[in-house]
């Protein structure tokens, strides 16, 4: 079906990101869609590796943080352009996920990807975005009674906030506390960190998170 490889798309897309050219980036995505790449492939085989590459380039001091932020913003906009399609395909009515970045955490793309991938599989996801205040998160979880909560922290200073958030959820909801998934860059160095802050599960990336949740809540 595909007449274009993901590698070719990544290269084109990355070029567009480094140029800061959102129009071009959108065009690359549109073309890839036209060539038969589905949402899941675009997320996992284009957006995710492209952003990893952007991070690597920053590490090599070849681009600035401003470039990286621009690339992220363009990618978020590219994702937003797929939403009409993505949600139209989701059957809805499946398990519910509430996802949030704790407090002042700004790195939200990974979590957004998990939500969108699960939407594709019929989940109903509520993405509360970056810097979600603790109290509104707990209220939301109480109101929506989701099957799972996903929390993200990308830097170690935010880990204590993850712990505080999880214990607030458990304290408020008791037996009714949903499955809690914690992830993000800050958890990558130590596989046991997630358990130590009180989470039930952790994942290394969007795909693993989606796989784990699919296993726990088969449709």
């Amino acid at each position: 079906m595909r007449s274009v490889t993901a590698e070719e798309v990544i290269r084109d897309y990355l070029d567009a990101l480094l140029e800061g050219n959102r129009r071009r980036a959108f065009a690359v995505v549109d073309r890839a869609r036209g060539e038969g790449l589905d949402h899941r492939a675009i997320y996992l085989e284009v957006f995710q590796p492209a952003l990893h590459e952007v991070g690597r380039l920053w590490q090599e001091n070849r681009i600035s943080v401003a470039d990286e932020h621009l690339a992220t913003a363009i990618t978020q906009a590219a994702m937003a352009r797929l939403y009409d399609d993505l949600f139209a395909h989701g059957a809805g009515g499946g398990p519910v996920l509430v996802a949030a970045c704790v407090d002042s955490e700004r790195h939200e793309v990974g979590l957004r990807m998990i939500c969108d991938l699960l939407e594709l599989e019929g989940w109903d996801t509520y993405f509360l975005g970056a810097t979600t205040p603790l109290e509104s998160l707990v209220s939301m979880v109480e109101a929506r009674a989701p099957q799972a909560v996903a929390l993200s922290a990308s830097i170690t200073p935010h880990l204590p906030r993850v712990r505080v958030t999880i214990s607030a959820l458990r304290e408020r909801l008791g037996e009714r506390t949903p499955l809690i998934l914690a992830g993000g860059r800050a958890f990558l160095d130590d596989p046991e960190l997630a358990a130590r802050v009180g989470a039930d599960l952790t994942a290394r990336d969007a795909m693993e998170a989606a796989d784990l949740l699919r296993e726990r809540f088969p449709r």
Partner: protein, 444 residues
């Protein structure tokens, strides 16, 4: 710049608006102008600089060190982790060596804080926009699904409505059919009513005609009896010689005349009897009748006649006593007629009379002869008036008789509340069965 090495930071660097750090080659912070501490809200001097770097920046730091002198030509962005927040700071790197001691100098490359803020705000706005777009799309999808559901329900409703309409039409069709059938029924009913009226009219006409006929018969019979009696009276007078002695031929002629007159009178009597029964003028005189006695009397009365024809006459009474409440005179009349016929048509074969109780408590009398029998065609009409078997016309009977005997017998049987039936096998004989009820109708 190199002159201040080892002597602590130069005073002018202490007031530099950005962070200035002096590091050992192993990245231990030897000195700081205090700006970084304020930003990160933590101590840095005496600690490894890498401890305040985020993991990505630690990797970047290693890369930076590996580059050697080349690194000094670039500006390095590093992400530093404070107590509550991240700070991305740009540094210029330089190296010094004095007395064999290598030092690394990091001097912050100040950026316009307003730009930083603008950048932060823009990215927050972007994130919010994307999120709004996400929620809108989800809502849109929900609406689309709701709309589809609505449309599906609408279609289903339409389908149901169509089904209903179809059923309605079917019911209407059935209704129309029913109406048609009702109309047909009405028509048939009208026709039936009309036929009924015609029938009633015919019946009335027939009754009128019958009653006229019977009245005519009665009147005529009476009017006929008088002159016949006169003829017979004068015949008797002639025969007794009141008008002088008759010659042999004359006497034979008068006897023939007398015989014909007797026949005529019997005929008139029968007609009279029949009309009386038919117009209901006959009356029943009922009493308890011992059938055995009645039949014994009749049998002994007719035995000489039967013997004369060579037919032995036997009576068998199966049940005793065998009594019914009825009109004995009429019963005698019927049985007499049956016995006369049996003797007349019995061809000299034995005649049996059986009597017994019937299942309904009445009595059955059977007269069985061994005569020629009656064909099926004739069986249907022997009870009609003026029918004589083997006769071409009235009066030319081979056996003699009026042709009214059996019709009268059957009417009498019915008059007594019973019936008279016949069964016959040609060449074997006939059986006439008189059935009488236990009590004749109209009995007290």
């Amino acid at each position: 710049m190199r002159t201040y090495a080892g002597t602590g930071l130069h005073a002018s660097l202490r007031s530099f608006p950005g962070a200035v750090l002096e590091l050992a080659p192993d990245a231990t912070v030897l000195d700081s102008n205090g700006r970084l501490e304020r930003k990160l809200e933590r101590e840095v001097v005496g600690l490894s600089f890498t401890r305040v770097l985020d993991p990505d920046s630690r990797a970047k730091w290693d890369r930076l060190l590996a580059l050697g002198g080349e690194a000094e030509a670039q500006v390095w962005e590093l992400v530093l982790e404070g107590r509550e927040f991240l700070a991305t700071l740009s540094f210029a790197l330089s190296r010094t060596e004095e007395d064999g001691r290598e030092r690394l100098w990091l001097v912050e490359y100040p950026r316009d804080p307003r730009l930083e803020q603008l950048h932060e705000e823009l990215s927050a706005t972007n994130s919010e926009l994307v999120n709004t777009k996400r929620e809108l799309s989800k809502e849109k999808a929900r609406l689309v699904r709701a709309l589809e559901e609505l449309e599906r329900e609408l279609r289903e409703n339409e389908h149901l409505s169509q089904q209903l309409q179809q059923q309605n039409e079917e019911v209407e069709a059935q209704n129309e059919e029913l109406m048609a059938m009702t109309e047909e029924m009405h028509a048939s009913q009208d026709q039936l009513l009309m036929l009924n009226q015609q029938l009633e009219r015919r019946t009335r006409e027939l009754q009128v005609a019958l009653s006229a006929r019977n009245r005519f018969y009665a009147a005529m019979s009476h009017e006929l009896r008088t002159p016949i009696n006169a003829v017979m009276g004068y015949n008797d007078l002639l025969l007794t010689g009141v008008y002088g002695a008759l010659g042999e031929k004359q006497e034979l002629a008068v006897e023939r005349s007398q015989s014909a007159a007797r026949h005529l009178r019997a005929l008139v009597d029968d007609v009279l009897d029949l009309s009386r029964i038919e117009i209901g003028r006959a009356e029943l005189e009922t009493e308890t009748v011992d059938m055995q006695r009645l039949l014994e009397e009749l049998v002994s009365l007719l035995r000489p006649l039967a013997d004369g024809r060579g037919s032995p006459l036997s009576l068998v009474v199966r049940d005793t006593p065998c009594t019914v409440v009825t009109d004995a005179r009429r019963v005698r009349q019927v049985v007499l007629n049956l016995l006369s016929n049996a003797i007349k048509f019995g061809k000299g074969n034995p005649i049996w009379v059986y009597c017994g109780r019937s299942r309904d408590g009445g009595v059955e009398v059977e007269v069985v002869d061994g005569g020629e029998g009656i064909s099926e065609e004739d069986l249907a009409r022997i009870f009609d008036e003026f029918v004589q078997l083997g006769a071409d016309a009235i009066g030319t009977s081979s056996a003699g008789g009026t042709g009214l005997g059996l019709p009268i017998a059957r009417r009498l049987a019915e008059f007594l509340g019973g019936r008279l039936d016949v069964s016959s096998t040609p060449g074997v004989g006939s059986t006439f069965r008189l059935s009488l009820p236990q009590v004749a109708p109209g009995s007290a």
